[in-house]
Point group: C2
Chain length 352, copies 2
């Protein structure tokens, strides 16, 4: 409301095309929409005229009349995070392939900006909204500004209220990571990093515990180490893994940043990650493939998640009566150098 606007040049319209090739406006419209009603000879003539005068379709006018929309809003809490940038690229890729356009909004993790951004986007009449909510978002405020008619799909973060939702399968990812370490022969495995109160960390820990339990192994609480999930903090906390004997021989990490920090921390304590201590990360950020050692991790394929989110919102748009879906997206284990077998033989034997 009440903002700057910029005048547009006089544009060519259907009438100009129609006049130029001696048919009616309605016929040109049918040609543009690929209707089978028009004779192919007429079609050719119209298409030639369109090319000739450089006519540009006005989708806004079309959407107004047809009460339709060909855009989807994508609201991202942190575009500078490569995970979300990849996600956005995936969304745009899938939307573009069916002629939809992506209305971008980035919120920089501010719930207030998110409200403003949503309010502005909604006025452009998107057919749906994909929202990766900012921290501290208020579900009620969001449904107030979005209104009851536009379908909204939550990505990655929970929110109170009834929403379609697409999230990583954190539980299964951590389960895969842990099982991988167990199959290499590890028996004393830590869960390193992250904050207990975050939902993703909670879910990942659940998967870790489930794998250990299933294998009949201990998961003592002192091997669950909390850290701020950054590289620096993680490196600093490395020592916490080795305060008791016997120490773990491997760690499942909350995410790749934590895992890379742990590798640094291990090196500075004279240990060699990938040789005498195994590390697994989560996310598969680009750096995981080039660290030393390269990092075994759980790939979430954010670009594929973006495509999936686009498919989901399109499906919901086609059929608003579908039941709410809150499914978890596939994740997969990527084995690299950092996950070695235990070097310490009694690490293997003590529990066997």
């Amino acid at each position: 409301m009440n903002t700057t606007r910029t005048p547009r040049q006089q544009n060519l319209t259907l009438n100009d095309v129609a006049r130029g090739c001696g048919v009616s406006r309605a016929t040109v419209s049918l040609v543009l929409r690929g209707s089978s009603l028009v004779k192919s000879e007429t079609r050719t003539r119209v298409e030639a005229e369109i090319q000739r005068i450089g006519y540009i379709y006005n989708r806004a006018a079309a959407n107004l009349r047809a009460r339709s929309s060909s855009s989807v809003a994508l609201v991202i809490n942190d575009l500078s995070n490569p995970f979300f940038a990849e996600f956005a690229a995936g969304v745009d890729e899938a939307l573009a392939s069916i002629g939809f356009v992506t209305l971008l909004g980035s919120t920089g993790e501010s719930a207030e900006r998110q409200q403003a951004v949503l309010a502005s986007l909604v006025e452009h009449g998107p057919a749906g909204i994909i929202l990766s909510a900012a921290e501290g978002s208020d579900g009620a405020a969001i449904s107030r500004v979005v209104g009851p008619h536009i379908p909204l799909l939550l990505f990655n973060r929970e929110l109170e209220g009834d929403w379609d939702m697409l999230a990583m399968d954190n539980r299964r990812g951590a389960y895969l990571a842990t099982t991988h370490l167990i199959s290499l022969g590890h028996r004393r495995i830590a869960f390193f990093g992250g904050h207990r109160q975050s939902s993703s960390c909670r879910e990942r820990r659940e998967g870790y515990v489930a794998a250990l339990t299933e294998a009949g192994l201990d998961a003592p609480l002192q091997w669950r180490i909390e850290t701020i999930p950054t590289r620096v903090e993680s490196a600093r906390q490395t020592g916490a893994l080795f305060v008791r004997d016997p120490a773990p021989t491997a760690a499942v990490c909350y995410n790749d940043a934590v895992a890379l920090g742990l590798q640094l921390g291990l090196v500075s304590r004279g240990r060699r990650p990938g040789e005498d201590f195994a590390v697994v990360g989560f996310d598969d950020i680009p750096e995981a493939a080039v660290s030393m050692p390269t990092l075994t991790t759980i790939a979430t394929d954010p670009r594929a998640r973006g495509r999936q989110a686009a498919e989901r919102i399109l499906a919901r748009m086609r059929d608003p009566s579908l039941p709410l879906e809150r499914n978890a997206a596939q994740v997969s284990l990527v084995v690299r150098e950092s996950s070695c077998p235990p070097s310490d033989p009694d690490g293997r034997l003590r529990h066997d």
Copy 2:
């Protein structure tokens, strides 16, 4: 053209608001646009009704009638590159602050997809386009699909034709990097990485040569080493720096990826970057601050560049008669650990 569309719900209109509070449609419209013509009592009444029934402004209809636009298209060649993702965030931030919305298009470095994406975006009537062109783009094809009326601003990559353009000041960045190394005492400085034919690499090399020349130092061609600008390739080519004696004591790198690869390559040859060999990068990607050693580099502040691009396209929209501008964006030197003084005393003395 000829794509899927999705029906929208029956929406509330100006007429509903008008009827609800006993004024005319035109008055409600004036209220929405903040006109001073309406009595403040009426304004309050109308605003209350808008809230009450949850009316949502239809900007597409408004833009159609007013022949205006409140969107800008942003076409990015590689969103998964954090540099461009940050840039996009900056563009969106600036546009959102004046109520504009960003139409996103990502091309994945494909010139054909870029044509399709531009064609689709143009139909949505953006007031302007910011384009970071895909490799192998054809300027003529782009101006054909965009038409003569929509202002377009090129970012980062040159293209044949007359365009507004915003690019990094590559020359000055490399000049700053080289001068920094010279002031630390280095006399034998290489330029490492990148491809001669890329315009950004050419410009950076020019800045490097200019700084050396200005200081009266040699810039022998064998110290300009070409690599594919990735970390892996760069690490692999490290040896090329040391085939001749005397070898350089420092390197200005084409970008941060190359610089980080070089650091890896140095380590694996038993040298210690930041202690017995100085490295400077270009871009200041997030990883530069956390590598070992942390990387001295040239910051381009892509987010600020995004804001700048948005300002530029808005200015051009306001006044299409402005002269074309092709200025270079500021860059700055960020000194970290990787740029050490020369350890080898005769590296310092030989040329003094």
